[in-house]
């Protein structure tokens, strides 16, 4: 049955479908960057010595660890569970976490929903020194969440310049949030200035 179609046509069909699947991966992400709501997140490099020097930079955010008693919403998460953060989005793009959910909640005006995945759930997470967070009553069930923003690579020609800038000031990530909550890194902001913008393709 299949053998009646010429082999070349069948090979071409398989190749095209597989390439289309790859292209769809890229296009899907480009859509988020192009159309998504922009938010700004202060970023803490996890390994400051290698910032922008190696292949990947690992970044941590305030929302990377969520203390459930301080953030409202559901509180029974297991590893690899999806988690949706409802946050208020200010005019400058900075966000304020409101609550976490198992299912995507409805977002009102000036609100965004960000989708992530629980990487670990623990208790009594130590507070970051110098942060002005209210104390969390023990036990303090907490989640480590991966939002899709934790690893980033910058091309070699930009790496040195960005490292100098980052040493001089505060690094923030400009991210785009799609309608289904998925986020993608759109650019890098140092001291309030957009210093690098991610190309679409």
């Amino acid at each position: 049955m299949i053998a009646r179609i010429p082999y070349f046509a069948r090979i071409l069909a398989v190749l095209l479908v597989q390439l289309f699947a790859l292209g769809w991966m890229v296009f899907d992400r480009a859509q988020i960057i192009e159309r998504g709501a922009e938010i700004r997140l202060p970023a803490r490099p996890v390994d400051p010595r290698d910032l922008f020097r190696g292949h990947y930079v690992r970044l941590g955010y305030d929302i990377s660890q969520l203390r459930l008693p301080l953030v409202g919403g559901n509180d029974d998460f297991k590893r690899n569970d999806p988690v949706y953060l409802l946050a208020r989005r200010g005019g400058d793009g900075r966000i304020e976490p409101l609550s976490v959910h198992h299912e995507p909640p409805n977002a009102g005006p000036d609100q965004v929903v960000i989708a992530g995945r629980v990487t670990a759930s623990m208790e009594n997470l130590p507070t970051v020194t110098g942060s002005d967070e209210p104390p969390c009553p023990t036990p303090c069930p907490s989640l480590s969440v991966s939002w899709g923003l934790e690893r980033y690579f910058v091309p070699k020609q930009d790496a040195k310049r960005l490292e100098e800038l980052q040493r001089a000031g505060q690094l923030e990530i400009l991210a785009a949030v799609g309608s289904d909550g998925r986020v993608a890194i759109k650019g890098l902001i140092v001291d309030g200035e957009l210093v690098y913008e991610e190309p679409l393709f």
Binding site: M1, I2, A3, Y7, F8, R10, I11, A13, V14, L15, V17, Q18, L19, A21, L22, M25, V26, D28, R29, H55, K78, N80, D81, R117, S146, G148, L149, E150, R151, Y152, F153, P155, K156, A184, I185, P199, F201
Partner: protein, 451 residues
């Protein structure tokens, strides 16, 4: 490169010629003519061709190493293009090889193309910082491989697709929160559809495909059952012990398929039967070790009995065609209940039951089931059943020995007696197998019943 085999053929031909002449297949003039022709052909290996080929391989490696070393400095669209190019090259080579008639090599090239597709998925995600769910990427690869298997009638792509998609389902169940990953069933039906409807009939006759499909289904069953039995820190042994009647049902189903009129269904039955039987006895054996759980689900006894009855009913239907006897139908019904005695005692006694009693309540059904399997194998000329039964019997006896005498005897004495017992057991089982297998081997393979 394929011409390299000509030398072997030539030497073989020269060796065979005298024999053909003796048998009168070739006249003496003919043999002389053949020898003359062979002598005229260049017998030496073409060195320049081989050197050129090795040079090409080195260049290819140089190109790959260069790309890998400077991967991150290449512009992103170009990186995507390189990956696409690698895939296209592999598939093009497959087409070219198929045109030359080298089906097996073409199949290997399709495998390379499909593997390149998987690598491309991973690398594209890395290039563009796509942080999606890992199982989704695996599924994208697996279904792409399945498409290649279907359209190109590629055996290697089908093997890859079955392996990847089974792993996908296991991953979703074990790590990503699925209790019963039913989307896998669509993939499983697709496997069957690919070989039974898409492929040409001579490609379809590849028996390994059906083995892989049945195995993949059984693996999914096992993973799903364990997932359903998982209650956080405890295991619901009621759900886990359902594996026994389920596999008994599978065995009965296999015989029903064997009794069907369609040869394709027969083929699936022939594959399922030994796996179901082996799984059944293995599960009974392994359940003896499960003691960190309780029997929680309230309906498990009823479901066990229902499945046992269903197994017996299916076997009766198969016995109508003469493949099984009514005794076998009754036997499988009882074997389906084999996990119950020990389980019921453990449940009703609330964990206070005597260890020896539990041991006996497991051992007796297992030994009886093993003996039945061996006897049925001998009677029905089904060698697999015979072997499985004997192995299960031997394993259980060894286990019983360890459990009963392990604590009583001094270590050295324990090992001495154990060694002697093992050797005696091995000798006994070997002679039993020889005797029964000889009897089972007369007159054919599976299923032919003797009145």
């Amino acid at each position: 490169m394929i011409d390299m085999f000509d030398g072997l053929y030539r030497r073989r031909l020269l060796r065979d010629l005298p024999g053909w002449r003796e048998k009168g297949w070739v006249t003496s003039d003919g043999a002389t003519a053949i020898r003359a022709e062979l002598a005229a052909a260049p017998a030496a290996i073409r060195a320049p061709a081989i050197i050129a080929f090795l040079g090409a391989v080195l260049l290819a490696f140089a190109a790959m190493t260069f790309v890998a070393a400077n991967w991150n400095d290449i512009a992103r669209p170009l990186r995507f293009g390189l990956l696409a190019g690698a895939m296209a090259a592999a598939y093009l080579v497959a087409w070219w090889l198929m045109r030359r008639g080298h089906e097996l090599f073409a199949d290997a090239a399709v495998l390379v193309g499909t593997a390149a597709y998987g690598a491309a998925i991973m690398l594209v995600a890395q290039i563009y910082h796509i942080e999606a769910r890992f199982p989704d990427g695996v599924a994208l690869w697996g279904f792409g491989a399945l498409l290649a298997a279907w359209l190109l009638e590629s055996r290697t792509a089908l093997m890859l697709a079955i392996a990847i998609l089974t792993y996908w389902s296991g991953l979703e169940t074990a790590e990503y929160g699925w209790r019963l990953h039913w989307p896998f069933l669509f993939a499983w039906v697709a496997f069957i559809a690919v070989i039974e409807t898409g492929w040409r009939s001579d490609a379809r006759s590849w028996p390994t495909a059906r083995h892989l499909i049945v195995l993949s289904g059984l693996i999914w069953d096992a993973v799903t059952l364990i997932s359903l039995a998982n209650q956080g820190r405890q295991i619901d042994l009621a759900v886990l012990s359902l594996a026994v009647p389920l596999l008994a049902f599978g065995w009965a189903l296999a015989w029903l398929l064997l009794a069907a009129r369609s040869p394709r269904l027969n083929a699936y039955g022939a594959v399922l039967c030994p796996y179901a039987l082996a799984g059944l006895l293995a599960t009974l054996f392994l359940l003896q070790f499960a003691d960190d759980g309780s029997y929680l689900w309230p309906w498990w006894i009823g479901v066990t009995f229902t499945l046992a009855l269903a197994s017996a009913a299916l076997s009766l239907a198969a016995s109508r065609r003469g493949l099984l006897g009514k005794g076998d139908a009754a036997a499988i019904g009882l074997v389906a209940l084999a996990a119950l005695p020990a389980a019921l005692l453990q449940k009703w006694s609330g964990g206070t039951a005597n260890d020896v009693t539990i041991l006996v309540l497991w051992a007796v059904p297992i030994l009886l089931a093993a003996v039945w399997s061996a006897a049925m194998g001998q009677q029905r000329r089904h060698r697999a059943s015979l072997t499985i039964g004997l192995i299960a019997f031997g394993a259980e006896v060894v286990y019983l020995y360890f459990e009963t005498f392990g604590t009583l005897l001094d270590t050295a004495l324990f090992f001495l007696l154990g060694g002697l017992l093992l050797m005696a057991l091995a000798a006994l089982l070997y002679r039993l197998h020889r005797r029964l297998a000889v009897a089972a081997g007369d007159g054919g393979q599976t299923g032919a019943a003797r009145p």
